[in-house]
Structures are given as structure tokens and as C-alpha cells.
Amino acid sequence: MAAESIELVVVTPEKQLIRQRVTEVQLPGANGYLGILPGHAPLMTQLGVGELSFHDTSGKESEHLAIISGFAEVLPDRVTVLAETAEFAAEIDLARAEAAKARAEKHLVSGDTNNDWDRARVALQRALIRIQVARKYRGTSVNSR
């Protein structure tokens, strides 16, 4: 067994969000969620759109972040998350996310089959994850999606 905890670093192009010791991390990998424990083999992955959560050294589950694509590098004692966008649940503007969701849905329903469709789909995905993370943190019920 290597160290009891790993260093989690979450950075976006604009700022560094997290740099602290944690005991467990859940990452939204592009091919599905990854659970990382101390002493994990070196790994490199692309990130999808999803939720990142971690347990801090006191063992309780701490903050959730909405992550929108990027990369993660896992080393035995260190997890580096290079996210394009990362927001703490508390920082998410729920109203804006809802508006974005409505907009994207409208686009999808309108049925244009040009490349806008892909963009709308991604936008919808982003909005949904934001809403999901924000709701979970605020203790409201989450619709299963």
C-alpha cells in the first residue's frame, strides 16, 4: 500500500480550483466513471461531461464539481485534472443552466439536421450535468437521468 492519501489538483485554463489531499476521487472519464484510490497505476484519460467528487482526508464526502471535458493524469500519489470547465456545485448558476437546457432542447426538437444538432446535443449535456450537480448539492431531489 502506498500513501494513505493522494494529492488532487483540479485546474482550468482560468484558475486552479483544488489542490488538496484526498483519499478517494471519482472522475467522469470519457469512457465512463473512474474511481481512483491511493496507489493507482499511472493512467491518462480524456474526460467526459460529468461530476467529479472526492473524499477528503477526514473521510467524509466533500464537494461536487461539474466537469466539462478535459484530461486527467493519474499517478500513484497524485491526480491532475485539466478540465475545460469546472465548477463547484455552489457556484453553478442554476437559472442559467435551466435556460441553456431549454434552449438546447428547443434546438433539438426543431429537428435541423445540420451540424447545429451536435452542438445543441453537447450544450444539453452540459446543462444537464450542471443542473444535476447543483441540485444534488442543494439537497433537492435529482431526477434520474
Binding site: M44, F71, L82, E84
Partner: protein, 291 residues
């Protein structure tokens, strides 16, 4: 001979100017602090990304990617970052001079430009350069979306082989008093800059990874990100340097205004004294003639 009233007016007007320059100095100082903080905040990402990219590239025997492809530099695209406004001392002039030095050095190549910032746009357009795109009013509030937009444009042009290299001309923020003019090559992506890397980190980058995706595919995603980060860094540096230059310029303007006021006040007092002396002489001579 200017009268007392003329002096009072001039002093008042200089004082007004001084108040404006002083206010501008404080605004620039506040903006500078913010720009500096953001430039600092963006550093960890750039550093981590460069490390991840380097370790990925070292693991692919011959990295093949459109953004890595070297071609003879015949068609050069230059991104020139100036300020949006003047009153920043020699800031804009310096950047433009650096750019024209660059143009002169590559005079027999086909050059096109993308100005970022209003001042550069105006001057480059007037000089008749081939302006591919322009970005104005983006440096006041630098955000990643703009950096990404510009990067997407140039990486597309590069991948389509419409241009053979992309250079950035901008001011690197050093201190408030001085900026370092930089001309950097953005594309093709060359040796990746390593910033203060410890031996431990170097050892760590030698580890073999489990790849969730093929390394080539990762590279495909990492390289554009890297270009975006470079662009963002240049924009943040440039905006910090602009505010720094403006702050210095406004400080010296305020000081100069103070000197002008002092000189004018001295003059005004001399004139006032001369007038009083003249009056006394008139009264005395008038009194002696009637006595």
C-alpha cells in the same frame, strides 16, 4: 504680458488635467492588479498541460499531427496584440515597432495579420496589410472563449495548409515599469517549454501510463488545448503589460502636471507682485506731485 486672470485660468485647467490623469492612474493600478492575478491563476493549467503533453509526446515514437507538421515558411500569419486604447505611453508603439521589425525580417514571405486590440487594428489596416480577422474590445476583459476562438481560427488555417506558420507578437509583463516585447512561434508546435521542473517531476513523466484512449487520440485533443493556453497566456500578459504601461504613463503625467502648476504659480506670484509694486509707485508719485 499675460494678466493675473490668465494665469489663474491656466492653473485651473492644468489642475483639472492632473485630476484626470491621477484618476486614470488609480484605475490602471486596479486593472493591473486584476490582470496580474488572472495571469497568475492561469499558470498552473499551462504548466500541467505542458507536462502532460510532453509526456504523451515522448511516448509516441513519431508524433504525427497536422499541428506538428513543419513546412517551409512561405505564408506567415502574425497575431499582433496591442491595446484597445491609447494613453499608455509607448505601449502600442512598441508592440507595433516590434511587429514591423518582424515584417521586415520576413519581407520576402507572404504575410498576413490578425490584430488583437483596436490600436493595432487601426494601424495595420492603414499600412495595408492583409488582415484575415480582427479582434477588438477583447482585451479589456480577457476570457478563455476569445482565446479559444482565435486559436480555432488559426489552427484550422494551419491544418488546411493555408498558412505555414503562426507567430505571436505581444508584450510580456515583466514589471510595472517595463514590459518585454516577445515574438513567439505558435504553430507549428515546437519544443514545449519546460518551466522550473524538479527532478522528481521529470522522473514522474517517464512513467508508462495506462491509456484509456489511444495516445494519438489524446495528442489530437491536447495540441489544440495547448495552443489555446498559449494564446490565453499571451492575452493575459499583454493586458497586464498594457495596464502597467498606462499606470506608469499616467503617473508621470500627473507628476508633470504638478511641475507645470508649480512653475505657473511662481510666475503668477511674480506678476502679482509686479502689479502691486507698480500701483504703489503710482500712488506715491501721485501723492508727491500734489503735495
Amino acid at each position: 504680458m499675460p494678466t493675473l486672470l490668465d494665469f489663474r485660468r491656466r492653473i485651473r485647467s492644468v489642475k483639472n488635467t492632473q485630476q484626470i490623469t491621477r484618476a486614470m492612474k488609480f484605475v490602471a493600478a486596479a486593472m493591473l492588479r486584476r490582470a496580474q492575478e488572472r495571469a497568475l491563476a492561469a499558470r498552473p493549467f499551462a504548466k500541467e498541460l505542458a507536462r502532460v503533453l510532453r509526456s504523451t509526446m515522448s511516448r509516441i515514437s513519431e508524433p504525427q499531427h497536422p499541428l506538428l507538421a513543419h513546412r517551409p515558411e512561405e505564408r506567415i500569419l502574425v497575431i499582433v496584440m496591442t491595446g484597445e486604447r491609447g494613453l499608455a505611453g509607448a505601449f502600442n508603439t512598441n508592440v507595433l515597432r516590434k511587429a514591423s521589425d518582424f515584417f521586415r525580417a520576413n519581407k520576402n514571405k507572404k504575410i498576413s495579420v490578425i490584430p488583437v486590440g483596436k490600436k493595432g487594428r487601426d494601424s495595420l489596416k492603414k499600412a495595408g496589410f492583409n488582415v484575415i480577422a480582427e479582434y477588438v474590445n477583447v482585451l479589456a476583459r480577457v476570457d478563455f472563449a476569445t482565446a479559444r476562438e482565435i486559436s480555432a481560427l488559426v489552427t484550422d488555417l494551419y491544418a488546411e495548409e493555408k498558412i505555414d506558420s503562426v507567430h505571436l507578437v505581444f508584450s510580456e509583463f515583466k514589471t510595472v515599469m517595463s514590459a518585454n516585447l516577445a515574438a513567439e512561434k505558435l504553430l507549428p508546435v515546437e519544443a514545449i517549454r519546460i518551466e522550473e521542473e524538479s527532478a522528481a517531476e521529470q522522473a514522474a513523466s517517464k512513467v508508462d501510463y495506462i491509456y484509456e484512449q489511444a495516445a494519438e487520440r489524446l495528442l489530437d485533443k491536447l495540441l489544440p488545448r495547448y495552443v489555446e493556453t498559449q494564446m490565453l497566456r499571451a492575452m493575459l500578459e499583454s493586458s497586464a503589460a498594457e495596464h502597467g504601461a498606462r499606470m506608469t504613463a499616467m503617473e508621470s503625467a500627473t507628476k508633470n502636471a504638478g511641475e507645470v502648476i508649480d512653475a505657473l504659480t511662481l510666475h503668477m506670484n511674480k506678476v502679482r507682485q509686479a502689479a502691486i509694486t507698480k500701483e504703489i509707485i503710482e500712488i506715491v508719485s501721485g501723492a508727491s506731485s500734489t503735495a
